[in-house]
Structure formats: structure tokens, C-alpha cells
Amino acid sequence: MSGQSPGPAPAEARGTRRAPADRVRQALVAAPLAVPLLLVCLVLTLATDRFLTTGNLENVLVAASIVALPGLAMTLCIAMGEFDLSVGSTVALTGAVTCTWLVDGRPTLVAVVAGLVVGAAVGLANGLVITKLGVTPFIATLATLVIVRGLSLVYTDGRDVIVNDEALKYLVAGRPLGVPMPIVLAVLAAVLAWWTVNRTRFGRWVCAIGSNREAAVISGLPVDRIRIAVYVLVGLAGGVWGVLISSQLQKGSGQLGAGFELDAITVVVIGGTSLLGGSASVIGTLLGAILIETIRNGLNLLNTPAAYQRISVGLLLVAALAVQAIRRKAPTEALDDV
């Protein structure tokens, strides 16, 4: 456009970004996150001799996969302009249910499905309260966070439910084709999420709602049903998270997962999906999860005391996003973001 010749100018088409270019732009939004990620990796490679080993990188990717799974569902929710605070408690309740069913002697598959159903049910409850009772998502999911935590404690009677189940273990420790199971799950989920967000009606409608809910209603989109579906998905993903954590720890407990909701939201937001809604960056969420887990892993490898770990995590988060903002050179855009 800048090279436009003077003089007669026909009614020109504005906004020349095409969809493929739009995708490049999306990738570029995620790419600045790749820059801090590479920086962090470089520093860690130099500072420790163990960072760049297959075993360690696999650790990082497994941990990132486990938080990316709920993160991907949360990406949809945030793209819709809302978020779900109840995930951490859902982790506790699903884990508790799955482990209790295992202890009661039910087959692993049944127990896992039961846990996932419970997670989806929490999501359904969120969706119904939000759409049918008109409660703000923040309060609705915060209330569910509190209630579901209470329910998991009541359900477990405040005690650990210990299991020893090989099949359950397979979900985190299994290696189909030599790749750790969580990575397999996360990659599958990411492909599905990318397809859904960018290539299906459902995904576009989710972004449409996040972009302008009034217009979505006026355009006749089934807004309530979409919102409920997204909350069910987030609940389900919380269930997956709960099952994976229980698989790792071989126990269920009313206390697990406290504060996880913020982790899930954080990977999405640092991945570049705006809390204002309207667009979703699946790649960003993956990179966000990897960045967070790399930082955590690195600080552990460096044996950083807790107090300094906090400070470093905080500063690195801020720095990563500052780099992103500067690279984006969009002053007001960043400011208007929540």
C-alpha cells in the first residue's frame, strides 16, 4: 500500500491480509514467544550440563503436555471471551472418583471414563449456570471451584485414595512407538484443536462469540449451546488432567490441583490468546506451556531456592511478554488487553 502511486486511486480494497497471510501473522504472534523460549533454552544449555539431554527435554515436554491438554480447551474458552476458574477443583474430583472406582475393583477403563464423565458434568453445570441462570462466568466458575473442592473433600472424606494400577499408570508412563503417552495425547489434542478452531463452524462460532456476542445472537448462532459445549470441553479436559495427575501419583485426593486453574489460564494468555476473546492461538498455547515448564525445569536444575524461584518465574513471564509486546510494536493494542 505504501508504494501506491499518486493521483487517481480507485476504490481500493483495504486490509489486504489474506487468510494464508493471516495464518502467518498468527504464527508470528506466537513466534515472539519462541524467541524468549530459545533464549531461555540457550541460557540453560550454557548454565547446566544436563538441560540438553534427551531425558531432561522429555521431562519438560511431558510436563508441558500435561498442562497443555487443559490449556487447549481453555484456549477455546478464552477465545470465547470467558474463562473457567473451576479446573483445579475438577482435577481433584475426577482423580478422587477414578481412584475410588479403582479401589472398588472396577476395570480401569470404566474408572477413567467415570472420572471424565464427572469432569464433563462439572463443565455442564458451569455452562448451564452461566447460560440459563445468567451468572457471570467469573463468579459461576469461581463458585464451582469452591463447591467442587468441597464435594471432593466430602467424597473422599478428606482421605487419600491410594491405588496401584498398571493400566492407569500407562497413561503417563506408557510409550506407544517410544513416545511418552502425554506427548502423544497433547499432539493429538493440539491437531484436533487447531482443526476445530480454524477449520470448523464450531471453532469459528466460538471466535465469533468472543469477537462480538451481540452480533452472534443477532446472526442466529446457537450461542448458549456453543457456550455450554465449550464449558463441557473444559470440564472434560480438567477430567483428563485429573486422571493424568492421579496416574502420576497413583492416588486421588480432595487436595490435589489447588491453583491449577491459574496455570491453565496462564499458558493460554502468555501464548498470545487475548482475554478479550475473538481469536485463539493453539500454537501459542503449546509454546506457552513449553516455556513455563522449561523455566520451572531450568530453575530446578539450577537448584534455585524457593524464594528466588518465584522471583525468577515472575520476571521471566513479564520479560517474555515484554519482548512480545515490543516486537509487536502495537502500543495501544497491548494496553487495551486485559
Binding site: A63, G158, D160, Q255, G257, N300, A306
Partner: protein, 305 residues
Amino acid sequence: ESEEPATSGADDGEALTVGFSVYDMQFEFFQEMERGTREAAEEKGWEFVLHDQRSDENEMVTGAQALLDQNIDVLIISPVNPEALGPIVNKAQEMGIPVVVDDIGGGGTPYDAIVISDNEDGGVQAAEYMAAQIEANGVTSRKVVSITCEPSAFYAARRNEGFRTAIEAAGYEVVTELSGNSRAEDAYDIMNDALARDPDVAGVFACNDPMAVAAGNAIIDAGMDPVNDIVTVGLNGDPEALTAIESGGLSATVAQDPAGMGALTVDLAEQLANGETPDFDNEAEREVYQEVTLVTSENLADFTN
């Protein structure tokens, strides 16, 4: 220095009301402590009022002070933050109500008595067992890992101090010391990272059992054995630790006796209410010790009843 306790309705044999402010009933440890306290009080025919601090220091101060207003004769408190005992003890003293602290710490306040596990000794026992077991396993590495509670848990830090001193004396090096915030989820990740850093660690100590069992699971997931390859030791004696020792997921734990501690606080409360001076293990700090015991597969049966 501690004041003459009030004797309101505390004549010998008469029914007292005891208020117990507990750290957090979410944790099995404190559920046991509550059970021990309540059952001992009921046995004496006392009235028992419970307050749950829910791990919140604001709730601790508010709730415990409110408890003092409910016509209790003695306050037993297991403080989420011992340093916040000041305003509570201060008010209790003004009202002439004796305060018995259960576990955690007294925060330098003029409480009347404190029952406390010997945390440092717990760490020492863990270290000594670990060193012996590593030898027995025939492992030559001298690297060990220590997983601590949250940085604010000063009482629990003594366990790691005791552990560190004793294990270093035995010729080992603590290569990783990180906080798992008392949470199993965090400890699992920390153990993973510690193994990536030093694949040849010979032992790991976690200052509570949920973290120790989680570390054991991480070791198993890394294809190793938390008893024969890497000696894994916890502290508390929680049911999950006992189960894990039985199934080979944990080498040992150092058991506290929360129910016993609860019962002990009730005895102390009775003596204080009657104006007697209890028999302290440490006169100056008004401490009564509760023993800690090492639990291994050998003596496991004594603890699982």
C-alpha cells in the same frame, strides 16, 4: 512467667469446655490430631468446641479469638502460622484462659505449654537409615536429594536441617534441595527434574509423606526402584506412606503420632486448668516432646494395626 491460670469452673473433676483450633481438617494428619484431642476430651466428660483455620492465618486469628469468647476454659491450638499466635495468646492471657499449643511452634509467645514432635531428630533418623540402606543396596553414589515443605513452614525446615547435618556427617552430599510446597504434585515434578540433573542419586528425603510417596512414584516412572535403587524416606507416618512401604513404593518414613499428641494436649490442659504445673521436657520453652519413630518394612505391622 506464665500467669496463674484462671480457675473458672475448673475445680477438680468438674466438666470443662475445651476449644481446639486446628490447622486444617483437609489433612489426614490433622484429622488424626483432632480425633485424638476430641476423644481424650470426651473421655473426661468435657465439652469440645472445634475451629478449623483452613490453612488461613487470618481465619486462625479471628476464629481462635472468637473461640476465646465462647466461654471455653482452655484453648488448644495447632497454629497454621505460629508467629500469628501473639494476638491470640495476648487475649487469652487477658481473659485468664490457658493456651496449649499442639505441634508446629509457639512463635515466641508466652503460651502455657507446647507439645512438639522432635522434628530435628526425625530428620536425623531418616538420614541414618538412608545411609545404612544405601550401603546395603551396594550403591556407591554419594548424592542425595532433599525435598522441603513451603518456605514458610519453619517447623518442618528443622527436619531438613536435621537430615542435612546427619547425612553430610555420613559422607553424602545434598545435590538438590528444593521446595515441593508440601504438595505431592510439585514433589513429583521436582523428583523428575532432580533425576534428570543427577541420574545417579542414591537417596531422597521429603519432609512430609505425600511428597515422599510422590517422589517414589516419579522414581518408578523413571524406571527405577524407590527402595533398592534410590532410598526414599518420608516423614509423618501417614496411611499412604505405610501402604507405599508395604508395596515397595517407599523405603521408610518417620512417624509422628498426631492422635497421641492430641491426647497429650488434653492432659496438659487439665493440669493447667487445675493450676498445676506440667512436667516439661524443656522447662524454659515449656515444651513437652512427642517421640518420632522410624517405620520400615520391618516394623510396619506395629503401625498398621
